[in-house]
């Protein structure tokens, strides 16, 4: 046997061995932290973060998305788009059953859409361009749009459009339907038990439509309300997974160094949380663009990233996170430059009027960030007063436009038409609501660009429009963009394949397995 053949054989054996080593193993239980405790698990009725995280295992959407946000099959196995980009035809996967054994069909899709239009604010907005939805047969669903809608294929993720069992919800009072507390979906795990205040238990769906999956037997979501106690629970081995945002950021470096601990920042590509300061454009000094620009120059965002967020994340360049479509960094830049900030304030005639700043009541990291920004602004001569509230009080103040500067962070959902425009177009100015255009910025050119961008074809045209919009917005500074946040997921290294898509932990644990 020649040396070359021997080498080839050895290599082949080695490769087989390593492939075998990575072959998913079946069985085992994962304990993950959920914070705060979800108010319910019926994703079509409540959509806050923890609900999505837990229920993403129970419910499914038609599609899921890769880290590059390309659509992938889930309950729909294929899809086609007509040449005029107005008709989308989805072929549903056959042999899918609800957890109670009933088959999943196109009728469920039609029902879910009608229900979500009434109960899910984001789905309602996403579906606004849909003219009609039809089901020519049990496994085909056809969406006809009023006009082409660029991000349409990006709205089918489980949290944005979860499929609901028609046979359990039709004709019932959705608000009080008993299945809200014992949800039935098509997902890889079935709801088993919820001891309020303690844990939520899910067990493997033995009839899951992807053969061999899920690999885990059970998943426990542990409710631990105190951030320090959550860190200890991981340290003492009581939980295996700390999803992003479970612990205070200053604990992340310490926990990351623990034995057999793996950390990943992946799985946030679809959401791309972007933090900024709402600036009330309506009144006082902040109505002047130069004062808003001065704020951008005055704040040391690298300090915030390196010290407050422990080096995690990225300094934002504008209204779009760098992970979403049509992002451009060809925009005016605002480096940390207190001298320039002072000059701009002087030019704008700022005379020390009091400016109220509202930190976000999401825990210690946000409090510290509030203090750092306050100090930055005081350093350039601004008169800053911190207003402390809890989340409810803060939301009310922001919704009522009763603030000057307020911290926030929002998801972007992969496309500027879904998660960016809503914060800058004048049609999204509505008192009493949060997360729309609460800063009161109004620019007809921006309104037109976002209106055109949503329906423009082809893709290159959309890119052109959104690049222009980003330039104008960054020049006008309607809000002060701070950081693209990164919430690292901390877990034992034996937990494999936990995050496989751009939706991360919210996409369910169907690919995850334990290397015991």
């Amino acid at each position: 046997m020649s040396k070359r053949v021997l080498l080839g054989l050895l290599l082949a054996c080695g490769l087989t061995a390593s492939a075998l080593a990575q072959e998913p193993k079946t069985g085992g239980v994962i304990n993950a932290v959920i914070q705060p405790e979800p108010p319910g698990l019926m994703l079509a009725m409540v959509q806050n973060g923890p609900v999505q995280m837990v229920s993403g295992n129970i419910f499914e959407g038609l599609l899921r998305y890769s880290p590059k946000l390309e659509p992938q099959p889930e309950l729909a196995e294929s899809w086609t788009v007509s040449d005029d980009a107005k008709t989308y035809t989805f072929k549903l996967k056959k042999g899918v059953t609800w957890h109670d054994g009933k088959p999943f069909t196109a009728a469920d899709v039609l029902f879910s859409i009608e229900m979500l239009k009434q109960t899910h604010a984001r789905a309602r907005a996403n579906l606004v361009q849909v003219d009609k939805v039809e089901a020519p047969d049990d496994y085909t669903v056809v969406f006809t749009l009023k006009q082409p809608f660029g991000p349409f294929l990006g709205i089918f993720e489980v949290g944005s459009m979860p499929m609901v069992p028609k046979h359990l919800y039709e004709g019932t009072d959705w608000k009080t339907n008993p299945y809200n507390n014992a949800p039935v979906g098509t997902g890889p795990f079935m709801f088993k038990e919820w001891q309020k205040g303690s844990f939520i238990r899910m067990v493997k769906n033995p009839n899951y439509h992807e053969k061999g999956k899920p690999y885990l037997d059970e998943v426990y979501w542990q409710v631990i309300p105190d951030a320090a106690a959550r860190s200890v629970a991981y340290e003492t081995g009581k939980v295996d997974v700390l999803p992003g945002g479970s612990v205070e950021n200053f604990d992340v470096p310490r926990l990351s160094k623990l034995k057999d601990t793996c950390v990943t920042g992946a799985g946030w590509e679809f959401f791309s949380p972007l933090a900024w300061l709402w600036l009330n454009n309506r009144q006082g000094p902040l109505a002047d663009k130069r004062v808003r620009q001065a704020i951008m120059y005055a704040i040391d965002r690298d300090f915030a990233k390196d010290v407050i967020w422990n080096g995690l994340g990225k300094v934002a360049t504008g209204p779009s996170a760098s992970t979403i479509k049509y992002y451009s960094d060809d925009v005016p830049k605002y480096p940390y430059d207190p001298a320039k900030a002072k000059a701009l304030l002087k030019e704008a005639g700022y005379k020390g009027e009091k400016i109220r700043i509202l930190p976000l009541a999401y825990g210690e990291t946000w409090q510290r960030w509030g203090e750092a920004v306050k100090q930055n602004l005081i350093d350039v001569g601004m008169n800053i007063e911190t207003i402390s509230t809890d989340v409810a009080g803060g939301n009310q103040k922001i919704g009522d436009w009763d603030y000057d500067i307020a911290f926030t962070y929002l998801y972007q959902y992969g496309d500027p038409a879904l998660g960016v425009g809503r914060n800058y177009v004048s049609s999204a100015i509505a008192k009493g609501q949060v997360f729309n255009n609460v800063e009161g910025y109004s620019n007809p050119e921006i309104d037109k660009l976002f209106a055109d961008g949503a329906v423009a074809t082809p893709d290159s045209k959309r890119r052109e429009i959104y690049e222009k919009a980003q330039k104008i917005l960054v020049e006008d500074v309607p809000v002060a963009w701070m950081l693209e946040l990164q919430f690292p997921t901390i877990m034992r290294c034996k937990v494999k394949n936990l995050i496989t898509t751009g939706i991360g932990v919210n996409d369910g644990f169907k690919d995850a397995w334990l290397d015991k």
């Binding site: 239980v29 304990n31 705060p36 405790e37 108010p39 319910g40 019926m42 009725m45 409540v46 959509q47 806050n48 973060g49 009434q118 109960t119 604010a121 984001r122 309602r124 907005a125 608000k175 009080t176 809200n180 507390n181 001891q195 309020k196 205040g197 303690s198 844990f199 238990r201 059970e218 426990y220 542990q222 409710v223 631990i224 309300p225 105190d226 320090a228 106690a229 200890v232 629970a233 340290e235 003492t236 009581k238 509230t389 809890d390 989340v391 409810a392 009080g393 803060g394 939301n395 009310q396 103040k397 919704g399 929002l410 998801y411 509505a430 009493g432 609501q433 949060v434 997360f435 729309n436």
Partner: protein
Amino acid sequence: MLSFVAQRVVKGVIVLLAIVVLNFFLIRLAPGDPAVVMAGEAGASDQVFVQQLREKFGLDKPLPEQLFIYVKGIATLDLGFSFRQQAPVSKLILERLPATLLLTLTAFAISLALGVLFGTFAARFAGTFLDTAITIFALIFYAMPIFWVALMGILLFSVTVDWLPSFGYETVGANLTGLAHVVDVAKHLIMPAMTLGLFFMATYTRMTRASMLEVKRLDFVKTARAKGLSDGVIQRRHVLRNALLPVVTLAGVHAGTLIGGAVITETVFAWPGIGRLMYDALLQRDYNLLLGVFVTCSVMVLIFNLITDLVYRLVDPRIEFAA
């Protein structure tokens, strides 16, 4: 005695009604409404969504009508529905009641027993090293914030020596039964109960000590001594029994607050009790649930006040039941 109890119950109902009305308006004075909180958490809101939520919570009705509906419910023992948690308020409270009572009653028993014991020793050996040691010990636990004691306890007993679990009510997923389950719950209970108990223990120690020293100086103690009674008998039967009245008063007040009074301990140790339920309801402006917890706590205070009055009579027969 029966007429005393009956009259107190009638008064209690009137007080309860006043509490309900006051709380109803008080929590609505706080900024923030549940619809906006829920819309906020969903990361999206529009007019339809907020309006739907307001209707769901009954917030679209005029305030007096909301109050009328609520009081009518209370009269039929219906504490309302928590739309946030998708469950009747009474069910949510009852679910949490056992865990809370287990924690608070254990802490209460520990604190009262140890507090009175240490207080008695301190008074008996007033001015000695033992007295100073107990006093310092009590002051330290009284002065230390509960959350700090809790975290230090976790650091020492869970992280460093790994003797006790750091959170929860039982080992999740262990499915233990019988004695093994009791031992498991007991292990989880030790740290939260001690944390909560040590704080109250300090109060009872100080109170017992001060009260005993005061009673010791009174004439009837001198008489007892003159009669030739032994020191032990004097301390137990004459001094302690008379010195207990203020301790009973304090214990009565504490007992009334047992249900809602362990918010911090329950939060740090992830103990699934009512304190945390109340805290979450407050943050989320879950009005019905919050009012439900308040009503339950108020009823407990009223009941324990009544019990305190009855215990007074047992401790000091001179006290008569006067309505």
